[in-house]
Amino acid sequence: MSIQYKSIKELKNMLNDKDISHTELVQETFLNIKNNSALNAFITLNEEESLKKAVNLDNTPSSGSLAGIPIAQKDLFCTKDLKTTCGSNMLSNFIPPYSATVIENLENAGCISVGKTNMDEFAMGSSNETSFYGNVGNPWGENLVPGGSSGGSAAAVAAGIVPAASGTDTGGSIRQPASLCGISGLKPTYGRISRWGMIAFASSLDQAGPMARTAEDCALLLNEMCSHDEKDTTSIDEVIPDFTENLNSSIQGLKIGLVKEFDLSKLDNDVVQVFEESKKHYESLGAEFIEISLPNISLSVPTYYVVAPAECSSNLSRFDGVKFGKRCDNPKDLEELYIKTRSEGFGDEVKRRILIGSYVLSAGFYDAYYKKAQQVRRLIKNDFDSAFKSVDIIMSPTTRGAAFDAGSKGDDPIQMYLEDLFTIPANLAGLPAMSIPNGMIDNKPIGLQLIGNFLDESRLLQAAHNFQISTDWHLKTPSGNKS
């Protein structure tokens, strides 16, 4: 029985019914990985260890909620004794001595980490074209980008290789690739999932989350990924609900906000039409639409491109060639060691962002840029706080369009930055947000974004699941509709 395109829930049933053994599941997963090697979705495979775990599970059944489920881990999470590159030459030889908390949580629930997925270098990019390990393909079409930065994770799920992958989202890096690859992806509330062991890009924005075929699978994964972690001082110490509990409850009376300032008339007709149809569908499910105003939302992208590079330039100063990672050959003194190591180890986009960060943080410019951006960040958060007094969730397209061709954004970085127009605001405000497939444009999938109030992931997942049990966009695969 083929396992390709199976959801977590389906695989769990197959394992329970003994339609497939744990070992067969893992063997077939690696076969699928190898058959899809042209996608370049993986940087490192963990075959031997995965098979060992599967054999153990066949011999000694486990009660873990995700026992034996193969998962692809974004190569940004530290994995003990398994190479972790963050898509960079700088870490091409880095083997972490410990695992990230979220990786431990998933593995404790029984997940088998089959490999590390390709990504934009240090998660900086929206097309997976900045990885040191080469571009990632989108299973929906040759030369299409999968989005980024969690592009390898999205492509691996979309190709039906694995039912689940971990991702991280600083400005849209889970939701944008989920949209372009036709899968479901959730960025939780800032602080829901521990950042310990995640290689930091912008610490006040970074958040890990699940990427899967369905909202229901995202809920199953989120249940295990969340924990309060003393090792991360920004980890939230709040009750973690069972995210699957309300999935099937009706959304009759759900108040959905539409952002007045998101000017959809600038988008292609096809994109607007897909969005309008989803609105109609939600109306048929009993939801009610309310126009809301987020007056400062248009400043989200410029705010982000001050805050994120500032935090990046500070975080990435740790890569100096001394304690771990790459070091240049034959430096003549310590300063040359730093400069040559960093210049050889980082790619162009990472350098560009470090430079912007150093500029906006430098004496004389700090108030004009960094402080100003943090003030505007508060205005944006205040806008959301007011909006959530009258609505339960907010809805928009996830992306401005479907997947684009590699190289088509030219070399103007701002064009690429605008790719995250709809996704960045949720990171600035720390709110949970997800993308689910809601249509096709020229045979390419596109996603719908749902933004929730603080800690209200359950309601997002409920709204997404209600959509998915009454539509079939999430069942479409590059090789046709899923049976």
């Binding site: 602080g191 400069i339 162009d348 500029y359 003030q375 701002i414």
Partner: protein, 93 residues
């Protein structure tokens, strides 16, 4: 933002730019800074900066030793080390 500024911030960032991409990166940074200059238009009088969406004081934990000393594990991941230290080129002559 000009080539001189770029070369100063490159030095502050401990990055060297080669001649061929110096012009391109100066142009890119100029455009990005122009793009973020839109923030000037926002009225932020008396608005407290927001550094982190949680705005909670970082939680402390009791001061117990929770990690074992794993000096060897960390030193062996270094590009250059001896049994006790990370090694770098001589700093003091």
């Amino acid at each position: 933002m000009d080539k001189k500024t770029v070369s100063t911030i490159a030095y502050l960032s401990r990055l060297s730019l080669n001649e061929e991409n110096e012009d391109k990166i100066t142009e890119d940074l100029k455009n990005i800074i122009k793009f973020v200059d839109q923030l000037d238009g926002a009225d932020t009088n008396n608005i407290e900066p927001l550094a982190n969406p949680l705005e909670k004081t970082a939680k402390t934990r009791t001061d117990n030793v929770t990690a074992k000393n794993r000096k060897e594990v960390f030193l062996e991941r270094s590009p250059k080390s001896n049994e006790d230290y990370f090694l770098v080129p001589r700093v003091v002559e």
